[in-house]
Symmetry: none
Subunit: 403 residues, 2 copies
């Protein structure tokens, strides 16, 4: 999306937009001749909505390229994911609610196990429980100090945490320490491209942090070391308010997606439990915003597990809740995913993602919501970065371009 | 379109291309489950042509963005409408037949009414008739003079006119004086981005012009002032001859479209009355050109009026004339619009526009011309800027690229 164009043309109106993301929605048949998860699901409400909607296939990032959650969502929000690279560390920091600033350098921490030879024997420290992870984070937060640099350490979940270094003149162009295999020593943090002073200094800082953490954790087997990855600084994203003049709310259960939403300047809503809890939050927030990003995770989780049936069931659960969403009377409701996670592949995929948009101004082409219905839809196959333009246009929030 | 590529590959041949534009062709059903204007129209000739044509949906400018006539047509002619922004004033000047040069600065004039407090009470001066508009333009043209600058004032229609300032070192990056609402004072002309010497000088010139015009018009209530908008200089468009080696003719009834065609270096043909008059002109010019841009306005006008039936009837009128066009034996005939103007919306829209191209080298997919037939067509959904490449290819006017 051309964000300058959006900034120029967008106008504040009373119309309301919901972008409902079923993470990893896109699927594949498990066997030739079969249906995808979405096609196999019994979805009377989604199908009825399809008969009033524009359908198409949204393509993330680039042909053949499977996006992570970061690039997947940046694309949905209209930011070019190849231009705006956001480190995993930044997403984690934002996800736990850290007020990330422009002098901050973040990295994701995994607690891990070193054997007697200093080699990694478990990259996840036996998946220590969250209580233990929290305890270790408190210990590090209390004891680690670095000269001239503020250090913030926050627990995420189980063996996962995040560290933020705050000082003038840091750089996020640093390599990971996780060698991605057990039986190897952790790698030192190094500058990615050559080594100017800023990168060298930042790498030294991170390596000093690891050294001190190792001393503190020496007796904490299995969590006796930290692996750092996904270094990054704050990306210069224009906010939803700046780019689209939208007062956006985010309803999401997982830190990563909360972080992505916060990055776009959305207000995080405290969500209730499960999918129905999220819809309750949507209802409760309805009067206060004009854009709602609602993120549903279990479709992706089921796909990652290779569980076709569970993914189908999650889709059916969403279908059952659709009338409640529609009863709010959104001017625009779009339903899609950030990428495919076909159960057949047990991973994110590069395929097009079913996309459906309902407004007063659609040209319906069928009466079901599924991959093949979307392929034949009025929108064809289009880059995911165009979704925000479509939402804005259908919500009558864009002025005409030119005389 | 990559115009450098066109310039490199294009060759002069005897084949002839017609690009028939039904302005605002794209439509929507008035009610869910219904047909669009084009789908509802009885079009036996267009449908027969569809059975011999490539079909697709042409998308103007960007997702969700409704184009004005300027950007819409620039796209059809293969110019990127985001790169080549053309001010309304330039289009008006070209449209009335002014020989626009590179030192010329144009702005659109609206005659308007100032009340006793110097506030605008009518932005269109009570829609004075064309005779009165002409008389006032003559008065201004005779009496206004500016030091060191030639000034040309030309009447367009009713309360609308255009002014051109000719001098070395002018700039078109100037703001409008129309505050877009009554009850406010007109704004002064100001530089848009900061204020270098050129912009400052141009703004001063325009403000001086307005001051003198106000003195001359003082007793001409309701047309006692001028509002200026759409400032602009000549854009650096390569002509059709330069880009495509085409000797292009334009057959269009309205100043704006004549202006756009002239900008692309087309020769304006004097058109007969109505749609059938335009087709007569096409026949009369047939031997003299190898490219014909034929512009039909009433589809857009009916859409703007929200008149579904009238738009349908205009399409049927074109259908009835199609055999005459085909009898000329064009090597390539393409029919599309510059944007949608669905009667349902009473305005330009962002939707894809039905596109049909007939040549010896097509792969037909159906036997009707309508939005949903085009969605399922062999060309899919594609940017409007690609149309010229398709026309050139089908006319066998492009050399192979590379060995």
């Amino acid at each position: 999306m051309d964000l300058d164009l959006m900034r120029e043309l967008s106008v504040k109106t009373d119309s309301k937009i919901i972008l409902l993301i079923l993470d990893g929605l896109g699927g594949l048949p498990m066997e030739r001749g079969g249906n995808t998860e979405l096609e196999a699901a019994e979805t009377p409400n989604l199908d009825r909505m399809a008969a009033e909607s524009d359908l198409g296939m949204s393509r993330p990032v680039a042909a053949g390229v499977s996006p992570g959650s970061g690039p997947g969502h940046l694309g949905l929000f209209g930011y070019d994911p190849l231009e705006f690279a956001v480190g995993r560390g930044v997403l984690s920091a934002l996800g736990v609610g850290f007020e990330f600033g422009e002098n901050d350098l973040a990295a994701r921490i995994n607690f891990a196990t070193l054997d007697e030879d200093g080699k990694i024997s478990d990259r996840r420290a036996g998946r220590i429980p969250s209580e233990k992870g929290e305890e270790l984070v408190s210990l590090l937060d209390e004891k680690v100090s670095l000269d001239g640099t503020e250090v913030f350490i926050m627990h995420e979940k189980e063996y996962r945490a995040v560290v933020v270094f705050r000082a003038e003149g840091l750089s996020g162009d640093l390599s990971d320490t996780d060698p991605q295999r057990v039986g190897l020593e952790p790698l030192p943090v190094s500058p990615v491209d050559g080594s100017n002073g800023t990168e060298k200094r930042s790498a030294d800082l991170a390596n000093e942090f690891i050294k001190k953490a190792n001393e503190i954790l020496a007796d904490e087997h299995p969590a006796n070391t930290v692996l750092l990855r996904g270094f990054g600084m704050h990306p210069a994203l224009p906010s939803f308010d700046e780019a689209y003049k939208l007062n956006a709310a985010a309803i999401a259960g997982y830190p990563m997606y909360k972080g992505l939403a916060r990055l776009a300047g959305m207000e995080l809503k405290k969500e209730g439990a499960g999918i129905s809890g999220e819809i309750e939050t949507l209802k409760a927030s309805w009067e206060d915003h004009d854009f709602f990003f609602v993120h549903i995770k279990p479709t992706d989780a089921a796909g990652e597990d290779g569980d076709f049936e569970r993914k189908r069931e999650v889709i059916e659960e969403v279908d059952a809740l659709l009338p409640e969403i529609l009863s709010l009377g959104p001017d625009v409701l779009a339903i899609t995913g950030d990428h495919g996670t076909p159960a057949k592949m047990k991973s994110h995929s590069w395929h097009g993602v079913p996309f459906m948009l309902r407004s007063e101004y659609t040209l319906p082409t069928g009466n079901s919501f599924g991959e093949r219905a979307c392929i034949a839809g009025s929108l064809g196959t289009f880059p995911a970065e165009e979704i925000m333009g479509l939402l804005m246009g259908h919500a009558m929030k864009l002025n005409r371009y030119g005389a």
